[in-house]
Amino acid sequence: MAGDKVDPVHQFVVNKIIPIEIGGIDFSFTNASLFMVATLAVATAFLYFTTSTRSLVPGRMQSVSEISYQFIASMLREGAGSHGMKFFPMVFSLFMFILTANMLGMIPYFFTVTSQIVVTFALALFVIGTVLVYGFYKHGLGFLNVFVPSGVPGILLPLVIAIEVISFLSRPISLSVRLFANMLAGHITLKVFAGFVASLGTLGALGIGGAILPLIMTVALTGLEFLVSFLQAYVFAVLTCMYLNDAVHPGGH
C-alpha cells in the first residue's frame, strides 16, 4: 500500500515546519507559510532587482516588470476610471502575489498557496471589504445605489434589487472559489496523469508503450496549467477592478 503515496491530494496537505501556538490557536509556520514567504520574496526580488538599473532603454527583465505595471495600470483605468487609480497598489499587489504563487505552484514538489480555499477567500474578502469600506466612506448611504440599476421600471425594482444584493453577496464566493478550484483541479489532474505514467511504466514493455499517452497528456496539461495560472491571476485582477468600480462610481451601471 505504499502506492498510496502517489495520492493527488497529498500535495495540498499543510505540514507544520515550526509549531507556534498563541492563546490555544495554532499559528504554526507551515509549508503553506513557507511558500507565502517564497512568493513574497520571489515577486519582490524580481520586481526590485530587474528595475534596479533604472535603464532608460529597458532590458528584457526590466521590460517584464514595466509591462506588468502598465498592464495592471491600464486594466484598472479601463475598469474603474482614473478615480480608481488610488487602488493601483492594491490591484498590482494582488495580481503579482497570485501570479507568483500560481507560478511557483507549477514547480514540482512546490506547495500551491492559492490552492487553499482559506487563502483565496481571504483575498476575496479583502477586495470586497475594501469595496464596502471605501464605498460607504466615500458615498455614505449613496453607495447603496449600487443595488439600484438606473432605468428599471418601478414594478421590477424590488426583484432587481434582490438580484443585485444576491449577486453582490456571491462575489467573494465566486471570486475565491474560481481561483481555488482552478488551481486545485489543475494540480490534481496533472498529478493523476503523471501518476498513470509512473504506474504504467512499471508494467513492462507494453506498459511503457501505453505510458506514452498519459505522458503526452501531462506535458500538454502542464502547458495548460501555466496558462490557467496566468489567466486566473488576470481574472482575479480584472474582477477586482470591476468591483472597485462600484466603490468609486456606485450609480455607474
Binding site: 495540498f12 507559510s33 507565502m36 519582490t44 499587489s93
Partner: protein, 202 residues
C-alpha cells in the same frame, strides 16, 4: 490503509514517492486518499485546523508585499516610466525644433539663392543694356562721322567740279584765243572771246 504514517511525513517525501511508484508500487484513487488524506481525515484545503495559521501568514506576507509594492517597487517603476516619457517628449521636441531650424535654413537658402539669381539677372541685363547702348552710340558716332566725311567729300567733289568747270571756261577762252589767232591772225578781245565761249557752252 497505512496512509496516516505516510502523510505525517514532510513534503519532501513526495519526491521519493514518485520514484517509489516508478520502482514498482501501485498508486491509488482519489477516493481512498480522501478517506485518510490527513491526520484529521478531511480534504486538506477544507481542514479548518490549518486556517488560523494560513490566515496569519497570509496577512503577514501579503501585508508586507503590499507595503513593499506601494512604497518601493511601484514608485520606482513609475518614476522609470515617467523619466522615459519625459525623455521621449523632450527628444521629440528637440527633433521638432531641429527640423524647424533646418526648414528655416532651407528657406533662407532658397531666398538667398533667389536673390542672388535676381541680382545676377539684373547685372547681366544692365550689362547687356549698357553694351547695347554703347554699340548704338558707337554706331551713331561712326555714322555721323561717316556722314560728315561723305558730305565733306561731296562738298570737295562739288568744289573741284565747280573749279574744274571754271577752269574749263578759262581753257576754252585760251584755246579759242589761240585758235582765233591761228585762223585769222588778228587779236580778239578777251571779253568777246569770253562771251562767245559762254554762248557756245550753253
Amino acid at each position: 490503509m497505512f496512509v496516516t504514517a505516510a502523510y505525517a511525513q514532510s513534503t519532501t517525501t513526495e519526491g521519493a514517492v514518485t520514484h517509489d511508484a516508478a520502482a514498482g508500487e501501485v498508486h491509488t484513487e482519489t477516493g481512498v486518499a480522501q478517506e485518510g488524506g490527513h491526520g484529521s481525515g478531511v480534504f486538506p484545503p477544507f481542514d479548518t485546523s490549518t486556517f488560523a495559521s494560513q490566515l496569519l501568514w497570509l496577512a503577514i506576507t501579503f501585508g508586507l508585499f503590499y507595503l513593499l509594492m506601494s512604497k518601493v517597487v511601484m514608485p520606482r517603476i513609475g518614476s522609470i516610466l515617467e523619466t522615459r516619457n519625459d525623455t521621449i517628449a523632450r527628444d521629440l521636441d528637440d527633433a521638432a525644433r531641429s527640423k524647424a531650424e533646418a526648414d528655416a535654413a532651407i528657406a533662407a537658402y532658397e531666398q538667398e539663392l533667389a536673390a542672388a539669381k535676381a541680382k545676377g539677372n539684373a547685372i547681366a541685363s544692365t550689362a547687356r543694356e549698357a553694351a547695347k547702348a554703347k554699340a548704338t552710340a558707337d554706331r551713331t558716332a561712326v555714322e555721323v562721322s561717316l556722314n560728315n566725311k561723305i558730305s565733306a567729300a561731296e562738298a570737295r567733289i562739288a568744289d573741284i567740279k565747280t573749279k574744274a568747270l571754271a577752269d574749263v571756261g578759262a581753257i576754252a577762252e585760251e584755246t579759242a584765243t589761240a585758235v582765233v589767232e591761228q585762223l585769222i591772225g588778228g587779236k580778239v578781245s578777251k571779253a568777246e572771246i569770253a562771251s562767245a565761249v559762254k554762248a557756245s557752252a550753253k
